[in-house]
């Protein structure tokens, strides 16, 4: 092994205990290091890294209050303050499961376990530095974002006899994947698997398959990986991404939930779970995941206002029309979050507007009409003031807020405007249509969908009386839902074809048609609506003739 000269290396020691910092510094002095900086917490450490590039950072995991060592590493890597050419060593007292795996996003170059002695530290550092310098050209190219250069440096090292062979092989597969050299990436992985069944080649093979849109093959590779190593958290992220690409959000949520169970401290994964489960209308999971995101993200780069707002939105949706103790607690929690945002961002008109809309919905959901009205008024005024800067997302949320406050016409007006102004954006049109179809709480939407399913089963079994009863019951929860209303009309028509026309039934059908007269030509149910409308009109004529 090459002799490592430490005299020109710059070290940073991060620990909240003075004794420990000094003891490590003394050890470093012992092997000739003269440039040693020290930091007592995350803030100081990050500030130090702004001013200085370090060769080696020795960071304790547990730093009392404030950021822990992993969060410091995440932030330094995320902001690219920590270069690939620096070594980051995490010092732990006891490698607990959560902690180590929570670290997988950004892995430290090594873990050191306390107690640390000078001889062990020297031995470990010598080896790390030796390997580090062998692959330094690759790391330099990575710092410059030069993937092609990094690939050619990897190839160079792989031609030599080196301790870094395996590291370079793995890195090269990853770089080929990033550079879209899928064939080459695949080749490396297959060759590795012939030698030994490791986990990482399966991950890369799966990612390559997914990039080629061969999703079933991707899932097969990911499952083969999990058979070897079910704790490989990043694999669950890839599985979730694949299911999302196929459009199976429920399986995506399942995968990400498993990942969260293995590694509960990862903020970005909690956030992903929150987003997916919210899309899936799984409010309990989403609320808890947002709560974890916000708590774990404290003091970190992941501490964004959006997460706080979305947490409040989830709480608001969850507490809507829930007057139990639990509902009240959730409503209160939402209001607390919003109050903090109001204090912190009083000069940001967009955030204040968003906060006012959510506040209004929370109050309306708890039947506090006066407070709901008050917040709604200030939200409307804020929207007025913003003028051209109001984007469709804000308009959609305002429509939702107006519906919650029973201002149906104003809500519809905004939604029609969104549809008219965004004719090229199908996503926005779909969202606006969904609000027009079902301006009800998420819980009622879920109930209506479940009862609708029962009704459809009854219809298929030709039990029209039961089907009518169930469709009518579902409509109580979601009165404007086009599918439900049209299903009910169709069932009545079917029943009348058996038992003969009835004037009263036809009148009833007309009411259900009117329930959905908000749908327009771009709506998926529009053709069916038109057909049933014509049919009812002709039957009415026949009856009165």
């Amino acid at each position: 092994m090459a002799f490592i000269n430490y005299t020109d290396k710059r070290f940073l020691i991060i620990d909240d205990f003075e004794n420990f910092r000094l003891s490590i510094k003394k050890m470093l002095d012992g092997f000739g290091v003269s440039k040693v900086d020290m930091a007592i917490n995350g803030r100081d450490a990050i500030a130090a890294c702004k001013n200085q590039d370090y060769d080696v950072i020795l960071c304790d995991y547990n730093l009392g209050s404030g950021k822990n060592g992993q969060q410091i590493l995440d932030e330094l890597r995320y902001t690219r303050r920590l270069k690939n050419t620096s070594l980051f060593l995490l010092i732990t007292a006891e490698a607990t499961k959560d902690m180590v795996l929570g670290a997988l996003e950004h892995q430290p170059d090594a873990y050191l376990t306390k107690p640390i002695t000078q001889s062990m530290l020297k031995n470990r550092l010598d080896r790390l530095m030796d390997e580090h310098y062998q692959v330094l050209p690759i790391k330099k190219a990575l710092d410059q974002n030069n993937i092609k250069q990094a690939i050619s440096e990897c190839q160079k090292i792989l031609k030599q006899d080196s301790r870094s062979h395996k590291w370079c092989t793995r890195k090269l597969a990853e770089l080929y994947y990033q550079n879209k050299n899928y064939d080459e990436a695949e080749q490396i992985c297959q060759k590795q698997l012939e030698e030994r069944k490791l986990d990482w080649p399966y991950l890369t093979l799966g990612k390559v398959a997914a990039a080629r849109k061969n999703y079933p093959e991707a899932l097969e590779y990911f499952n083969q990986l999990l058979a070897i190593n079910p704790q490989y958290v990043n694999c669950y992220d890839e599985i979730a991404a694949t299911y999302l690409a196929i459009g199976d959000a429920s399986k995506a949520q399942q995968a990400i939930m498993t990942g969260v169970q293995i590694s509960p401290r990862s903020v970005h994964r909690q956030l992903k779970l929150a987003e997916i489960s919210r899309k899936n209308d799984d409010l309990d999971t989403a609320t808890q995941a947002y709560r974890n995101t916000v708590e774990l993200g404290q003091n970190s780069i992941h501490d964004t206002t959006d997460n706080h707002l979305n947490f409040a939105r989830c709480l608001s949706d969850n507490a809507e029309h829930d007057y139990s103790k639990e509902g009240k607690i959730q409503a209160k929690e939402a209001l607390n979050i919003l109050e903090q945002i109001n204090k912190k961002y009083k000069d940001d008109p967009k955030l204040m507007l968003q906060s006012a809309m959510i506040t209004s919905r929370v109050h309306a959901g708890q039947n506090n009409e006066a407070d709901a009205e008050k917040s709604l008024t200030s939200a409307l005024q804020a929207m007025e003031k913003m003028g051209d800067r109001v984007n469709p997302d804000i308009q959609l949320e305002m429509a939702k807020t107006l519906f919650t406050n029973n201002r149906t016409e104003d809500a519809e007006k905004i939604l029609r405007k969104v549809i008219a102004e965004n004719s090229d954006k199908q996503d926005l049109i779909d969202q606006a249509n969904a609000l027009l179809d079902e301006p009800v709480s998420i819980k009622n939407r879920i109930k209506a969908a479940a009862i609708n399913q029962e009704a459809i089963t009854a219809y298929e079994q030709q039990d029209f009386t039961k089907a009518i009863k169930k469709f009518t019951e579902a409509l109580k929860f979601s009165p404007r839902h086009p599918g439900l209303n049209l299903n009910l009309i169709q069932t009545y028509l079917k029943q009348m074809s058996d038992s003969g026309l009835a004037k009263k039934t036809l009148e009833q059908c007309q009411i259900y048609l009117n329930n959905v007269n908000h749908i327009h030509a771009s709506h998926p149910q529009f053709e069916r609506y038109e057909a049933l409308k014509t049919k009812i009109a002709s039957l009415q004529q026949k009856l009165s003739a």
Partner: protein, 230 residues
């Protein structure tokens, strides 16, 4: 009297072991620091340091094993098999026992290709090797040789020039749980070997499984501990 909840003894055991292990870790660190700051001046002082260190690391190892076996039993043991350089492992474990090697004037030889790498759980295998080393230090007459090679799996052998393993251990090294294996006179429970075998068995690759083996008549004349990992 109010109802006192019954204890989940296994949980208490795990928590307590965990706590003791941390304390012992600190104790071991302090011993090493003391030796550094106040180097022994006489042979007797050096023996005291060595004894302190030896007993503390024995307790530490026992506790790590106890906790490991408990977690294994509860299906909570986290196995992280990654590629490692074997030489790093061997050097680290010998450095860990530097005080003992120095105090007893042991002639240690490590025969391991510097680039040899293999797949195993670093912490668990480190504990196995450390335990064998500490044990070997107790019985050797001054020589220890560690050999590592990779043909049909990784084989690590730790040989000494001591009296070798007693016959009953050669026949059945793993029956630690049978009463007769617990020797209250020497304090030997064979827990270390049982642990080593369980950990070796966790290492599998396709159809092969890791194992340990004890032999006598090593090239140094004493016992050999052999660990084979696929």
């Amino acid at each position: 009297m109010a109802d006192v909840p019954t204890l989940d003894f296994s949980l208490v055991l795990a928590a307590t072991v965990h706590d003791m292990k941390n304390s012992l870790g600190m104790l071991l660190g302090s011993i090493e620091e003391t030796v550094e700051q106040f180097p022994p001046k006489t042979q007797a002082q050096s023996q005291y340091y060595a004894l302190l260190h030896y007993e503390a690391s024995r307790v530490n190892n026992d506790l790590i094993q106890l906790l490991g076996l408990y977690r294994l039993d509860q299906n909570q043991l986290l196995l992280q098999i990654e590629e490692q350089f074997v030489m790093d492992l061997l050097e680290e474990q010998t450095l860990r026992n530097k005080i003992l090697f120095d105090a007893r004037n042991i002639n240690l030889e490590i025969d391991c290709p510097p680039h040899l790498s293999w797949y195993y759980d670093r912490d668990l295998i480190a504990c196995v090797i450390n335990n064998v080393l500490v044990n070997t230090l107790r019985y050797t007459k001054g020589k220890i040789k560690i050999t590592a090679q990779a043909t049909n799996g990784l084989t690590i052998q730790i040989a000494d020039n001591g009296p070798g393993y007693p016959d009953h251990m050669l026949v059945d090294p793993l029956h630690f749980h049978s009463q007769k294996s617990i020797n209250t006179h020497t304090g030997s429970t064979h827990l270390g070997l049982y642990f080593a075998q369980r950990i070796a068995q966790l290492h599998t690759q396709e159809n092969s499984t890791g194992y340990i083996q004890l032999e006598n008549n090593s090239e140094l004349g004493g016992g050999v501990f052999k660990l084979v990992l696929p």
